[in-house]
Amino acid sequence: MKIICEKGFYKFYPSSLADIRRFFDKYGTRLVQCEDFYTFEALASLPKYSILGQPYAGLIATKTCSGSREEVMAKNLLTYNQSTKLVGPIALIAGKMDYSYSNYFVMSNLPQAFFYDNFGIITGFYGWANLDYMKFNIDQFNYY
């Protein structure tokens, strides 16, 4: 299952619905359809705009803007937090990426955006989930 994370917004592209089920079995986190991809429930319901001082993703928006969900979320300095399964401030995300490297980066868990590695803070990545072994193979990390 291909995975793209942009600015803390996760997009999953399953080859079949079984992928979604297997992901749920492993993580207990439901993925829901949103446009042409699947994503976490908290991300699927995000509006494509925010108004300063008004509710946004269960928080208060810090910016009046519009655009794609990931752009609006990023402009409000927010990201998906895998621990809480909610959208939360980037400032509260702290941790180091734990991966091994062969031809690509291999991780046991879905990478958390805005964790850091030796090259800097990671804002997103491109990769795929090997659902047979429940490994995440990352082709590319994106940095600030």
Partner: protein, 119 residues
Amino acid sequence: MQILEATCTAGVVSANGGIVPSCQILGEGGSSSGYLVIGDEKFFYLPKTTPDVKSFLTQIETLCDKIGALCDSIKAITVTCSAPASPSSPPINSTVFSVAKTEITAIKTNLSTLKGNLK
């Protein structure tokens, strides 16, 4: 770009159940309903002009009716004279002219208010 229903009251724009801080207002100000347009990181309030135009046209329509009625009253003017060659009295139906003047003054007031509220 997102377009949301909005209102503007005393220079404060509200949309989505709350106020929109620092919102640029296009038009001449005044209370109105309209749209909040949010593009990338720029946003502005655009008032609807239709209610103003509709209200204006209604006032003009009423004015036309009053002028029509006034013409009928003019045609119906009848005066009396106390003696041949003496000055005539005011028209018997002079009351309708007084009423018409009051009504036209009211329409003028409405138009002035509308002008002041132009969005």
